[in-house]
């Protein structure tokens, strides 16, 4: 076949597929969000935003992201640098650390439920240590702090691995000579980390953060498993609009709000971690 047309033939299936199942439904969501059956309107957005649960779920989602993402970033960086200089057992340790990558948010929620539920392992441990007499129902409205902590821990446990993988791959691309050069010039390990690893890792940090932050705004199943209705989040409300309240327009409006927040944060991250042209490895 002619080499001029071959690439287009090869990308045609994906392009068609994405147009049909990505762009087209996206347009539909937008259309539905801006209409209630009679022309263009902002009613859906007004309804959604003025609902009493909206500020709470917005606050919860943002708070969760603010608590989880920085911890994950620090943890992933720590793990990536530790793995980088590991000689023996590197493969095994990496395998263990990346296991959560394959675990769904729902399964992660269930796993941490085993720890925090009333007859769970946290209670059993505290009972064994003589700290409590009878099991405490941690995941109830009396302990909002513990609910938040449980959800945050489950999220950190589950989704640090994706950042770890991206960062390990990124660190692997940095040539060893840079570190040796810095060492010859007398840079301490900490200086080498802040002056060489971090700046050269910027493209990977970008990818990792963007991906992670977008996923943080989509948090849903972990919350459903651990907090249920105690801890409303944006995605959970979207689900509720669609199924419990059967209000498709409101659900679409929520979807667009989540999208807007995601895009906003993506742009901020890309801006903050901008890599100057020509300064790549």
């Amino acid at each position: 076949m002619n080499a001029r047309f071959l690439p287009y033939v090869l990308i045609a299936p994906v392009t068609l597929f994405l147009c049909l199942f990505f762009l087209y439904p996206f347009v539909l969501v937008a259309k539905q969000a801006f209409s209630t059956g009679a022309g263009f309107t902002m009613d859906n957005f007004r309804d959604v935003v003025s609902y009493w649960k909206f500020p709470i779920s917005m606050k919860n989602t943002l708070l969760l992201a603010a608590a989880v993402v920085p911890v994950q970033l620090a943890l992933a960086l720590l793990m990536a640098t530790m793995v980088n200089k590991m000689k023996r057992g590197r493969d095994l340790v990496l395998y263990v650390w990346t296991i959560p990558l394959g675990i769904s948010d729902l399964a992660a929620g269930i796993i941490w439920l085993a720890i925090f539920e009333q007859s769970g392992f946290l209670n059993s441990m505290m009972h064994g240590l003589g700290l409590i007499d009878r099991p405490v129902n941690f995941l109830s409205y009396q302990h909002p702090g513990v609910v938040f902590l449980a959800i945050a821990l489950a999220e950190i446990w589950r989704a640090t691995a994706i950042m770890l993988v991206i960062l390990v791959a990124g660190i692997g691309l940095i040539p060893k000579e840079y570190y040796e050069a810095a060492e010859v010039f007398g840079a301490s390990p900490w200086k080498r980390f802040t002056r060489i690893t971090l700046p050269l890792l910027r493209p990977s940090l970008q990818t990792a953060l963007v991906l992670r932050v977008i996923l943080a705004f989509e948090v849903f199943a972990v919350v459903a498993a651990l907090g249920g209705t105690l801890f409303p989040v944006l995605m959970g409300e979207t689900y509720a609009y669609q199924f419990d309240l059967l209000n498709g327009g409101a659900a679409a409006a929520m979807a667009l709000i989540i999208l807007a927040i995601s895009i906003g944060f993506t742009l901020i991250i890309l801006r903050l971690l901008r890599v100057p042209k020509g300064a790549t490895i």
Binding site: V14, L18, M82, G102, W157, V184, A255
Partner: protein, 277 residues
């Protein structure tokens, strides 16, 4: 150099101990919660609901038997496998040619195409399940395994494109050209030279697609009613189902993940290294 030689040997040894301890601690952080799930799954339903909990499993298959016997659970498991299998096949069949095109050709519109792929990655895709539900009702795809597989393929195909792109880029163009000069057409050069070399990597990215589908909750819950997948089924019954059912279900969800990460561990980092660009 100076930093190393001026340090006293015991500070260095202390540093190494801290380092080793941190590695062990972080491994425990990942493994201990999994171990707890494991205990719960391999304990009888009574033990699971009792207090305090034992910290060793009693190797009772009661919970798993209950899970297997629970109405609808096995068919949900079957649906999950079917959807994930279809997603796996479709995303590779659709994604790999595009990955090949990206790695081998410079063509007009390449950047727009890459942007489209990256855009899907930067978008909360499960949200699209809502309008698709309407679209599927109109086309009769609603509540079918195939319909859900289509949505999951949308989720998985950008990854398939990027991963296969990086895999193909790892095969020197020279090998293909050599095959052409030795009597191959484009197609036979691909099947005789490129394909054998790339097969393990393709398998890894297929498994990746499988797990994306296997783990997906939101779209599955939105798009299926009678033909629930395992995730959708568990989510739907979170409020009402007993603890031992949740834990056994969670365990079944986790097992493929363990196998998956083990199977693709070699490719995980290479895949992301180039996919970052």
């Amino acid at each position: 150099m100076t930093a190393v030689t001026t340090q006293a040997p015991d500070t260095r040894r202390a540093g190494r101990t801290v380092y080793a301890a941190a590695v062990v601690l972080l491994c425990a952080w990942v493994l201990v919660p999994l171990y707890f799930l494991f205990i719960n799954t391999l304990s009888s339903p009574d033990t699971v609901n009792s207090f305090p909990k034992p910290f060793v499993p009693e190797f009772d298959t009661g919970s798993l038997a209950f899970f297997a016997g629970f109405a609808g659970m096995l068919s949900a498991l079957k649906n999950s496998i079917l959807v994930a299998g279809m997603t796996m096949v479709m995303s590779i069949l659709i994604g790999a040619p595009a990955g090949y095109a990206l790695s081998r050709f410079d063509f007009r519109g390449k950047e727009v195409f890459r942007l489209l792929i990256l855009l899907t990655r930067a978008f909360p895709l499960p949200l699209l399940a809502l309008p698709l539900a309407v679209m599927f009702i109109r086309t009769g795809l609603d509540d079918t395994v195939f319909g859900l597989a289509l949505v999951h393929t949308t989720l998985a195909v950008p990854f398939a494109v990027l991963i296969t792109f990086s895999l193909f880029s790892g095969i020197p163009m020279e090998l293909e050209e050599a095959a052409w000069t030795l009597g191959c057409t484009r197609l036979t050069a691909f099947t005789k030279v490129v394909l054998p070399l790339i097969l393990p990597g393709i398998t890894a990215s297929a498994i990746f697609a499988f797990v994306i589908s296997w783990n997906e909750v939101f779209a599955a819950a939105v798009l299926t009613i009678e033909n629930r997948t395992l995730t959708a089924f568990l989510l739907q019954n979170l409020d009402t189902s007993p603890l031992h059912l949740k834990f056994a279900g969670g365990f079944i969800l986790v097992v493929p993940a363990l196998i998956f990460i083990f199977a693709v561990r070699k490719y995980l980092f290479a895949m992301w290294g180039i996919a970052n660009r």
